[in-house]
Amino acid sequence: MYGQPYWDETNYYQFTLEQIEADLEAPSETIHQLCLQAVENVLNDDALLAKFQIPQPFWDWIKASWQNQEPCLYARLDLAYNGSGDAKLYENNADTPTSLYESGFWQWLWLEDKVNRGDIHRRADQFNSIQEKLVQRFARLHQDNLGEVLHFACCKDTEEDRGTVQYLQDCAEEAGIACKFVYIEDIGHGEGEVLTDLDDQVITWMFKLYPWEFMLREEYAPLLLTAKVKWLEPPWKAIISNKAILPVLWQMFPDHPNLLPAYFSEQDAKQHLSRYVKKPIFAREGANVSIYSNGEEIVHSDGPYGEEGFIYQAYYPMPKFGDDHTLIGSWLIDYQACGLSIREDKALITQDLSRFVPHIIVD
């Protein structure tokens, strides 16, 4: 990892229960509800669907997944929070969030070990029922899909994604679901316009750690319309995870304490904001982000994204402790906020080599 530590156990963040419950847990669940309302709006507005760069052949299919209330699994809200005041939403990683294993398992184990060694007081707690909630969520999904095999998929050559998917598969098996794994690249086109795994078994229920905006543009995209797969995350997450939702949220809920001003056009951004961030509507891990101050670009990160367009969000610097900028990841399982992951970076834009730092709650 470029010679930088990813998992940093030397430090940890300490919160009060009040900070967790009032400033992070409740607002995260509120933000999720706002996002759901925004999805409803977007799906009823073809002009917005076009702005979200959703290919038209999939509009009805995505609408159907929303109307049928296809269940979702998880999301990670990226928040700015400095210990007091309102947490602000940077973005909602609602389709393919990662660092779940570090958050739900390793962070939990870290505190367990620290307490057992006497380094941290036994009464210390952690905002982290991620694993418990995941298993409960899978148990619920199992009830609704008895006897079905759940396929898990991610891309080849990505160790982190493979680890995340294995973790989720372990949680699903803990909940009694029969699981199989297949790499995204190995998925087949089967007779009958279906999707198959390497044993030619028809895929009927799948968790994919692979973004919808890619799947909707690839060779097998038309098969999504015929294959009748139940997806985790469901197709409507293509809306909620899209950064174009940020200006929609601001338009629907202006001045909401947990939202940052955001606009579709640079002109609007310039008119309302002295400093703003230009973000591609499809991008991961902070790629292709530019920060502008009084019309001049002051920071820029490289990457392969941006051809589908950008949104403009008020520049709201991450809180800085020492040399490090701190980003809060707030985990939702279904609609329940249930844990934190904290990442630190020396740079202003958090990328995939940011360090993961554990936390505790002490009152």
Binding site: T96, T98, S99, F105, L109, E160, I184, T196, E218
Partner: protein
């Protein structure tokens, strides 16, 4: 308490952040109809009449067992785009045309028989069986399940089977091509350099 009460460490600890376990592929192997401890008495019948004649008073049970087996065969059994491909595997005249739910026509082998068995709960259950009349097939002279497991010699009458033989089988189909997903990742990943933990999550 804001954290998980307990965690199944045995299951969850097996992967470290740096180590990933390769999944085991499921392989359809050769097995006999019987297995220790999980045996179930069953009879192999050729068709509905065969079952009904042998079980006076159970015509209805035979009927629904036969229909169920037929349905499972069509749903979960092998499918071929051309008749000759199917006949190569199962023998001349042993395949018929079948129209799938989506209107597509394929060729499937004839169900050669079915397992019929009364379970502890007094209900009857069934499972379809194939056999092949093609000399070079591994199923020549043997029973095969819909998911390609070779069972014992192909003969009718009483037998003992593993209870699992009656479980619903996953649907299978012929795979026409692979690799239609994942191209975007190849196209956009060059900038990531040699990062060992690059992924597509956000």
């Amino acid at each position: 308490m804001k954290r998980s009460q307990s965690i199944n460490l045995g299951r969850m600890r097996k992967i470290s952040a740096a180590k990933v376990i390769k999944p085991l592929a499921v392989v359809a192997g050769v097995s006999t109809l019987t297995a220790c401890g999980n045996d179930q008495q069953a009879t192999v019948y050729k068709d509905l009449d065969h079952c009904a004649i042998d079980n006076p008073g159970l015509e209805e049970q035979c009927q629904s067992a036969y229909q169920q087996a037929l349905q499972e065969a069509e749903q979960s059994g092998p499918k071929y785009p051309r008749q000759h491909l199917c006949e190569e595997e199962f023998g001349s005249g042993r395949c018929y045309q079948y129209t799938m739910n989506n209107g597509q026509n394929v060729f499937v082998p004839l169900m050669a028989g079915f397992l019929f068995s009364q379970f502890m709960d007094n209900r009857y259950r069934s499972a379809p069986l194939y056999t092949s009349y093609s000399y070079h097939s591994p199923f020549y002279g043997y029973w095969s399940s819909v998911d390609g497991k070779r069972y014992g010699r192909a003969k009718y009458g009483k037998t003992k089977v593993n209870k699992k033989a009656f479980d619903a089988k996953p649907k299978v189909t012929r795979t026409i091509s692979r690799g239609g997903f994942g191209s975007k990742v190849a196209a956009s990943s060059s900038f990531r350099g040699s990062s060992s933990r690059g992924g597509w999550g956000g």
